[in-house]
Every structure is written in structure tokens, then in C-alpha cells.
């Protein structure tokens, strides 16, 4: 691969929760690193990050992610209420002749209030909304975003994880960046998928898996991204015909099927890659076939 073009970015997503996104992401990363690629694995499932847990890596000494939070300078505030009017989230209440009242839970951190304040009375309280951890496991560099408990601004963390990934990549010249996303098909997932070269949608053949696959493939198409479908626990009872129809509907292709395999749970409780401890297990063999397919896809 031509390194001068920068790293290739693979996003692993899926729609439904618990389909095996993180298992696939972690083991693909490990596999590529074993065959000599420089790999960064970025966990963008910031409100339930599991990459570190699956690899037994510690999340310590995280770098704080901060976001704008208005703080009112009492001496400058003229109680005009412009900030309250500008805030579309209704996070600021102007009581006559009082300092504005802030509802921090509603604040998006956009800074509109400070832009409109005529007396520069709004300062940046720099609220900590989460952390980014940089570590390494089994030859894979890890970048993990974590949303602080009771905070809602997961997008701020995801944006920071992605920026940091690109910065690190300039230094370390990764061949591959693998992004693990949250379940669902909402804005956090859209932001995580954005700008990736290839999207892998990991699903299962159950009605829930198929229903949510339909949504995530629609999102990938809206973002004009190249995608393929991985069916995990492929031998679960389900509807394979419908699954293929959904793939066809979104011009996606079923790239690999991973069978139900007890070794996967074993690898989880050991917090080690499946491909390391059980390289010949059926699931591990499927993931190495998947890696080959993905690499071919990226080299096109």
C-alpha cells in the first residue's frame, strides 16, 4: 500500500447492539498487526467503550476532553438577557435583574451565548466531558474515548478521538485505522463513520439484527461510503433470505459469515484476542478470511 496516501480507515459498525462489532474490530486489528501492518484501533463507542476490556488494556492517565460551558462574570453582566435569547437549547434563563441561570444538562457547548454577549461577560468554564486514553495491546495502538458519566456530549469526544487519530497517524504512519462505533444509527455513529474508506456492518441473522442492519446501511449510503456486511453468529435461527434482500436493497454485499463459536466468549473472559489464543477456531478462521477480503477491498 502506498503510505504517502495516508492510512486507510475501516469503520466497524452494525446497527443492533451486541452483534460482535468490537470482537471483529479487535481481532481484525490484531490480525493486521500480526501480518506486519501498523494499526491503530480507535474506540468511538464512547458511552460504552469495550475495546480496552476485550484486550485487557488499562484506561489510565486519560487526557481530558473539555468543552465550552458558560460562566457568567457578575461584574460585567448587564442582565440584558441576550445570551438567553441566543441559546436554542434553552439552557440559559434570564430572570429580570439577576445573573442568568444556567442549566448545564441542556448546554451543548456551542458558545452562541458568548458570541452575542455585548459586554464579554461570559467566560469559558471548560467543562470536562470525557477522556481519551492512548495505550497499546498485542502490537496494536489503541485510542479510546470515554464519555464522563452523566454527560451527554458524546460527539465532542468522538470528534477529538478522530482528530487525535489523524495526528498520531502523521507521526506513526499507520497503514490502517480501525474505528469501532456505538450501536444504533444516530448522529454519533454518523460522525464515527464519516470519512472512512470502508464500512463493515456486523450483524446477526435474527429479526432484530436484520431490522437494524437496514437502518445502518441506509446511513452508510447517506454518507456515500463503501460498505459490506458481516454476519456474525451466522447459524443462529433467522431469515437469511431477508438478510440478503436487505443487502441488495442497499447495494451492499455479504462479505463473510462468522459461526457461533464458544471460543469467542472464552477470549472475552480472558481479555485476549481470539486470534491469539484460538487461531484455528471456526470464528478466528472466518475473521482471517474477512481480513483478506477487507484488504483486497481497500487495495482496489
Amino acid at each position: 500500500m502506498d503510505i504517502s496516501r495516508g492510512p486507510k480507515i475501516i469503520a466497524v459498525t452494525g446497527g443492533k447492539g451486541g452483534t460482535g462489532k468490537t470482537t471483529v474490530a479487535v481481532n481484525l486489528a490484531f490480525h493486521f498487526s500480526q501480518i506486519g501492518k501498523k494499526v491503530l484501533l480507535a474506540d468511538c463507542d464512547v458511552d460504552a467503550p469495550s475495546v480496552a476490556t476485550l484486550l485487557g488494556a488499562e484506561m489510565r492517565n486519560g487526557k481530558e476532553v473539555r468543552q465550552f460551558l458558560p460562566v457568567f462574570d457578575e461584574s460585567r453582566c448587564i442582565r440584558c438577557g441576550e445570551c438567553s435569547k441566543a441559546c436554542r437549547m434553552h439552557a440559559i434563563l434570564q430572570v429580570p435583574d439577576k445573573i442568568p441561570l444556567l442549566f448545564p444538562d441542556l448546554c451543548l457547548g456551542c458558545g452562541a451565548c458568548s458570541i452575542v454577549c455585548p459586554t464579554n461577560a461570559i467566560l469559558d468554564g471548560k467543562k470536562v466531558v470525557g477522556w481519551i486514553y492512548e495505550t497499546e495491546a498485542y502490537g496494536v495502538d489503541l485510542l479510546i474515548g470515554e464519555l464522563k458519566l452523566n454527560e451527554r456530549e458524546s460527539e465532542a469526544i468522538i470528534r477529538e478521538v478522530k482528530e487525535r487519530a489523524m495526528d498520531l497517524s502523521k507521526e506513526r504512519r499507520y497503514d490502517l485505522i480501525i474505528i469501532d462505533t456505538a450501536p444504533g444509527a444516530h448522529c454519533d455513529v454518523a460522525l464515527s463513520l464519516k470519512d472512512s474508506d470502508f464500512v463493515l456492518a456486523v450483524t446477526e441473522p435474527t429479526p432484530f439484527g436484520i431490522h437494524d442492519l437496514d437502518l445502518i446501511l441506509e446511513l452508510a449510503n447517506l454518507l456515500k461510503l463503501k460498505h459490506a456486511v458481516v454476519v456474525n453468529r451466522a447459524d443462529l435461527p433467522g431469515n437469511h433470505r431477508l438478510l440478503k434482500e436487505i443487502c441488495k436493497k442497499h447495494s451492499s454485499r455479504l462479505i463473510e459469515e462468522i459461526p457461533v463459536d464458544d471460543n469467542v466468549v472464552q477470549s472475552h473472559v480472558r481479555s485476549r484476542p481470539l486470534m491469539l489464543d484460538f487461531p484455528n477456531s471456526p470464528a478466528a478462521r472466518a475473521i482471517s478470511r474477512l481480513a483478506k477480503e477487507v484488504w483486497e477491498e481497500l487495495s482496489l
Binding site: K16, M89, G111, D212, L236
Partner: protein
């Protein structure tokens, strides 16, 4: 009226499986309104069935719109957009609606007053009446949309109204995964929050995260361990954690092929395979839950 929300932290541990079966059992004994606020991936209707009676659009988010007859192409909006959702394409400011949070910074900084914010539909609310006599409300977020938390709050508000109109004893809410914005909105206001987990390291870690949210809002916590025989040592740790934190352990559901087979049939496991080991376990959990809720 009791409001019970089912959450998990980690996705895919069996929230909907458990919710569907508990709802099915409850409907036999009491007036019930069920709600699916996993607005990104709402699946409850796939197993509960019912007839779609009503569907309405929900406008819970605003988006920026450029009035091109006024836009001079200065690019100040794009420079100031905190979401990086505006790009200059030629001499035109183009808003990527998917990434716009509706904060309005662009409309404030635009020297030409060429940007306005408009309410847009970011989701819908579907109302189903099920053959067994209960009402199911389903919130659905539009693909890639923001404002899931607001949509969750909106759907819950409607559910409370419907429950009042129908004289329901209980609102049972199937929540979203994670511990972010939609999960916070789902837990807020609930009298009881039941966590579903499985004995794996990732599920346990994220169980602790969602429990912190539950504690913050003061809902009475309960725990159900699904696929309980997956790994004994972590199951023991989870039970120990629950006891230490004052979480009511409502019971365990064993691994059972009947569960995926019932899902494939589009039925709650307790109705498809009432004698299966998972069904018997859920029936025991149901009894414990009824006692815990004091209904």
C-alpha cells in the same frame, strides 16, 4: 403509576428479549403501556406484534437553512460552526443536515442574516394496539439524526398521557444501550430501573456505568443476569456488586436456544416456548419484579 425502564449499558445483552417477555406476562395481570425508546434501533414491535393504529412525526430538533438569495459566500458560518457541519462549496455555504445540532451559531455570526433555524421532524412516534390488550408506543429516530435524548423524553411524555387515559397501572420502557444522552433521558423520571446484563467483562463494566446514571436519578434499581451460565466467576462478581450497591437481584436467565428460536418466530420466548428453561426463569423474575414494584 409506576414507570419501569429496562437498560443495560452494553448493547445486545437481551434488553428487548426480557422486556418483551415481561410485558407479555404483565399484560395478563394488569393494564400496561409498553414503550420502546431505543429510538435508533427500535425492535420491540418485532416481537410484541400488534396493529399500527397511529403514526405521527415528532419535531424535536432544529436545523440551519441557508437562504441563498442573501448568502454572499463569506464563509464566516463555516468557520464558526462548532460541529463542522457547514462547508463552503464554491461561493455557497452548504449545511450537512446530518451533522447540524441546531445550535444557531451560524445564524448569529452571519453578517447577511442569511441563515435561519427551522424545526424539522427528527423522528416519529408509532402507536400499536396489541391483540393481548396493551398499547405499545415506539419512538423512531430518523437515520443519522441528532436529538435522540429529546425524542426519548417526548415519547415518554406521550406514553404517560396514554397511560393516564387508559388508566394503566404500569409503563414499561425498553431503553437504549449505552450510558449517553438517550439512556440518560430514558432513566430520568423512572420509578424503577431494571438493568439487564450478561456475565462478560464488557457487559459488567458498562453495567457499572449505567448504574451510576440510575443512582444519579434515584430510580429503584434491579438486576437481571441474562445468559447467566456464560461465565460463572463474572456472574458472581455481578451479584456481589448488586448486593453491595443495594440493587435488587431479580433473577437469572440461563442460555437457552429457545430464545433465538422465539425471536426468529417474532414472539416473546414465554409465549412461544412457555416450558423452556429461559421462560421458566423469566416467569420467576416476573414474580420477583411484581413484588419489588409492589403492584
Amino acid at each position: 403509576m409506576k414507570e419501569v425502564v429496562i437498560v443495560s449499558g452494553k448493547g445486545g445483552v437481551g434488553k428487548t428479549t426480557v422486556s418483551a417477555s415481561l410485558g407479555w406476562l404483565m399484560a395478563e395481570q394488569m393494564k400496561l403501556v409498553m414503550v420502546d425508546v431505543d429510538v435508533d434501533a427500535p425492535n420491540l414491535s418485532l416481537v410484541i406484534g400488534g396493529t399500527l393504529k397511529n403514526s405521527l412525526e415528532i419535531e424535536a430538533t432544529e436545523k440551519a437553512f441557508v437562504r441563498y438569495e442573501k448568502c454572499k459566500g463569506c464563509g464566516i458560518c463555516a468557520e464558526n460552526c462548532p460541529e463542522e457541519a457547514i462547508h463552503m462549496i464554491g461561493q455557497k455555504a452548504v449545511v450537512s443536515s446530518l451533522f447540524c445540532s441546531g445550535c444557531g451559531v451560524c445564524s448569529i455570526v452571519c453578517p447577511e442574516k442569511a441563515i435561519e433555524l427551522r424545526l424539522v421532524a427528527n423522528g416519529r412516534l408509532d402507536l400499536y394496539e396489541s391483540p393481548s390488550g396493551f398499547t405499545l408506543l415506539v419512538g423512531k429516530l430518523k437515520i443519522g439524526e441528532s436529538g435522540s435524548g429529546k425524542l426519548v423524553s417526548e415519547v415518554k411524555e406521550r406514553a404517560r398521557q396514554v397511560a393516564k387515559e387508559k388508566g394503566a397501572d404500569l409503563v414499561l420502557i425498553d431503553g437504549p444501550p449505552g450510558a449517553g444522552c438517550p439512556a440518560i433521558s430514558a432513566v430520568s423520571g423512572a420509578t424503577h430501573a431494571i438493568m439487564v446484563t450478561e456475565p462478560t467483562p464488557a457487559a459488567f463494566r458498562n453495567l457499572k456505568r449505567i448504574f451510576s446514571i440510575i443512582r444519579h436519578f434515584g430510580a429503584n434499581p434491579g438486576l437481571i443476569i441474562n445468559k447467566a451460565d456464560l461465565y460463572e466467576p463474572i456472574k458472581r462478581e455481578e451479584v456481589h456488586f448488586a448486593e453491595k450497591e443495594g440493587i435488587e437481584v431479580l433473577g437469572e436467565v440461563p442460555m437457552d436456544d429457545s430464545v433465538p428460536r422465539s425471536l426468529a418466530l417474532g414472539m416473546p420466548v414465554v409465549s412461544a416456548f412457555p416450558g423452556a428453561s429461559a421462560s421458566l426463569a423469566i416467569k420467576r423474575i416476573f414474580k420477583n419484579l411484581v413484588n419489588y414494584l409492589k403492584i
